[in-house]
Amino acid sequence: MSGLRLLAGPSLSSGSETYADHVRRLGAATLAGRALIEALGRSGLTGRGGASFSVAVKWKAVAVASKGRAVVIANGAEGEPQSHKDRLLMTTRPHLILDGAFLAARTLRANQVVLYVGEEHGSSWAAMERALDERPEAERRIARMVAAPHRYVAGESSAAVHLVEAGIATPTTTPPHPRERGVASAPTLVQNVETLAHIALIARYGDAWYKSAGRRGAAGTILITITGGVKSPGILEVEAGTTIEEAVAMAGGVSEPAAALLVGGYFGAWVPVDKGWALPLDAAALKAQGMNLGCGVIGVLPATRCGVCDTARIMRYLAQESSAQCGPCFFGLRALSDAIGRVAERGTNRDDLARLKRWAVEVQGRGACKHPDGAVIFLRSALSTFADTFASHPAHWRQQPA
């Protein structure tokens, strides 16, 4: 592609860009207020935390209800184990994120900005704290750092609000959504840090510039994390609409023949490689195919690994990460994890296969948040992608769980 956007500028290995360098390189944002919300709407920008929700819709809802007391939460919890892109951004380009957060605060007339950073992301926390110290007094005065607990659900928007408000990072029943009633009942914008960084650039260069990147009808750039059987796993900034095959080529290509791809991380879906290579990395295009970009994780499963065993390992993790509030999620994911664990460990049996298929449908839509839905959509994709392996799995883990 012609150029990086979020990751443009000084070498990423030289650490955080200082505020002075950031301002010298990019100048000040020119758009704010109504004009910024309109530009965000025309850009089509959607959230990069996983839900791919329209940024403009969220901003309009908070702006209407704000009355000068809205809250902005910059979400750097990054609880998805395979994703590293938010951490890369926080450690190297913290001022893009802060620009986005304070632009949101000004535009939405918010009186609080919370930098919500995963407690286990030590260097991200340090970089964000240092960056905040460099900002003007008027910004520092309304901002504070809050540690996101090391739990998968801590980054879910209602859980972020709950933590900031009450110190408990569990999701709450919606509606009301945080954008309607969040921290201290004030309308609250919970926005992923990558999304805020894109906003910082759109506020400088506009929506037409944003859309000048992108392929196959998609707009902008995306940070993705490529893991698994590739020669150079890691984080890439790609033009939206780049195919997975092209992105994997940018990561050095496969390290050995691949069997399947995990698109969208643990809340995503498995696809066989023959169908997966051509998929475009774009939230809208993937949604049209019943898939989900999530937070941009692409996992490449080598043909030598067992998809059932990997799925069992991930289901065990997702079951453990239930916040144990809703019965269908707490008991259902545990039961599903046990059933697939038995298939992985003791071999295929008809009863467990039937249970997996039935529960994977029954659990959906029956939690306060989308945790159970994400887990069973992921499981169902495994049941179809690895149908042959599920039908004749041997009586032992083909790979020990990590």
Binding site: G327, R366, A368
Partner: protein, 72 residues
């Protein structure tokens, strides 16, 4: 979404007491762990009195009748 009243459950409040499924088996069944699964769509008129009784009987006030199916 079709017009009418829908049953909705606050999934955090629900503890799986199961009274709702006893009182309204036409629309509510329990999963393998005792938590309710609600039939999709609006509550038919002839079942509204039973649905209201199920709502009133829920020990943790997790069941509600709502004009839209805002939460499942």
């Amino acid at each position: 979404m079709r017009e009418g009243l829908h049953l909705s459950i606050d999934r955090i409040k629900c503890d799986g007491h199961g009274l709702c499924a006893e009182l309204l088996p036409e629309l509510i069944r329990l999963d393998d762990w005792g938590y309710p699964i609600i039939a999709p769509g609006p509550v038919p008129d002839h079942l509204l009195p039973l649905a209201q009784r199920a709502v009133a009987t829920c020990p943790v006030l997790a069941l509600a009748l709502r004009r839209t199916a805002a939460s499942k």
